[in-house]
Symmetry: C2
Subunit: 111 residues, 2 copies
DNA sequence: AAACATACATAAGTTTCTTATACATAACAA
DNA sequence: TTGTTATGTATAAGAAACTTATGTATGTTT
């Protein structure tokens, strides 16, 4: 991740959402996609990403498929059925979180 | 805090925003205010709150003023000048964070 | 008398991250 | 041809922010 502590705890949700959207992705691709979408503001580090992917796999939310492209290894991840259900929950939690943060920070707008 | 990991990293920003808005507050008051604003969805635990307040004070962002009300101690915190500046920065970071998360999660809406 | 609310505090442990390092191939620049 | 950048994965040590549990103390409600 980068700069602000705020991103702590959001990495898993980001990964799962991207996989839900794109079917399957490999680690490096995820970092580039996130960088592009956030216009360079969020840079996921390998030290954060790979352990997160391994944990999601160990939890049964992701399946792995290894491919060799241009003589380089790629580990493609995709959501399992369990992972798809979990993604729905996490996205719902994210919406609640954002709504709550906006209520806290912008109380004028809440009613 | 509660449930979702997403709130990790947002506590300091929440505290500082509430202090900016209300002038001075004591710890317990902050927990009740947050609970009320989020309709019970976010419960700040003492184990998270008090160390956070002490650290913000140690960093020079908060001043303390002890009062005794109904024979019970209250430690009122308020932002220092430095704390006010920092609050502006953190709120700006929070806006960026929310915008980035919405871009990641709801790519249809970004353009 | 017991439970709950108010009010603060800390210690042990967990999770999630940062920072640094490591390995390997390919492309490009000096 | 040698160094840098890009692609691609991985782990280990340490920091930071939290959870959970516990402790102290007073006031209020059941």
């Amino acid at each position: 991740m980068k700069n602000s502590q705020l991103y702590k705890g959001s990495l898993n949700t980001i990964i799962m959402k991207l996989l839900e959207e794109n079917g399957k992705m490999y680690g490096y691709e995820i970092t580039q996609k996130v960088k592009a979408i956030t216009q360079g503001e969020l840079n996921i580090t390998e030290g954060a990403l790979y352990p997160a992917l391994h944990k999601l796999e160990a939890d049964g939310f992701l399946d792995v498929e290894i491919e060799k492209v241009d003589n380089r290894m790629r580990k493609y991840y995709k959501l399992t059925e369990s992972g798809e259900k979990e993604t729905v929950n996490r996205l719902s939690e994210l919406e609640d979180f954002i709504r709550n943060m906006q209520s806290l920070v912008n109380p004028k707008l809440e009613f």
